[in-house]
Symmetry: C2
Subunit: 118 residues, 2 copies
DNA sequence: TCCATATTTAACATACTTGTTAAATACAAA
DNA sequence: TTTGTATTTAACAAGTATGTTAAATATGGA
């Protein structure tokens, strides 16, 4: 699977996003990561494998623990991809703004033409 | 499925990303969108449904055609989510930079201390 | 009305995902 | 070496995704 697909696919699961959010606070072991979830340890372990394969986390063995840490760098390509589309939605916003400006009641009387609250 | 999962899931397929890229150029019919792919029309039609459900495209009926157009606004939440992690990878970059600065050969002789090409 | 064009829906096959439980593995400490 | 703790792998079930072909639907025009 291509890298981008793998990244987006890894992010398409709420458990995995929650794990990443937890790791943004700091490194943690598998057990610690699993604790908040109503899910077996093997299930969490598999989510961690998906995140590892996607390059979003790193695991180092420490005695019988695996310390997981965020590797947000793995998000960069996905961020860049989405970023390409930002101008489209911002353009959309500009169009809406322009429309509202056109259709808003015109200032009347001795107006200075400045914006005012609706 | 939650919105974010739906968005990332929709983006996790190269055909769908290619369709979005095509639509960034301009609106197109289903047939036009399908043309570059070695895939049946029903398969493309289903990809378009996934994109529609994720709010990434819009379809208007025009006679017997369905004109599809990009709705990049649907990417905003995903962009925001990823953005939260940007500081982590940029921090990482800063750390690398600091490391390189520490380990780089010190300027010697009558140096002005300015950066130079490696 | 009848036909051609554009697209979707139905029915199906295959593969992937994700969860479960039970067993295996790895290490630390008694 | 035996035991306890942490984690992964194996085997399985259920649900979801994605592609196929054939049939259905919708519209415009002869």
């Amino acid at each position: 699977m291509d890298t981008l697909s793998q990244t987006f696919s890894a992010l398409a699961d709420p458990t995995r996003r929650a794990i990443l959010a937890r790791l943004a606070i700091g490194a943690a072991t598998v057990g610690e990561l699993a604790e908040p979830f109503d899910m077996s340890l093997p299930a969490v372990s598999r989510h961690l494998r998906v995140l590892t394969d996607a390059g979003l986390i790193e695991r180092h063995t420490e005695a019988q623990w695996r310390r997981c840490e965020l590797r947000a760098e793995g998000l960069r390509a996905a961020a860049d991809w989405i970023e390409e589309y930002r101008r489209f939605w911002e353009q959309q916003f500009d169009r809406l703004e322009a429309y509202l400006k056109r259709t808003a009641p015109q200032p009347k009387g001795k107006s200075d033409g400045r914006k005012r609250r609706s």
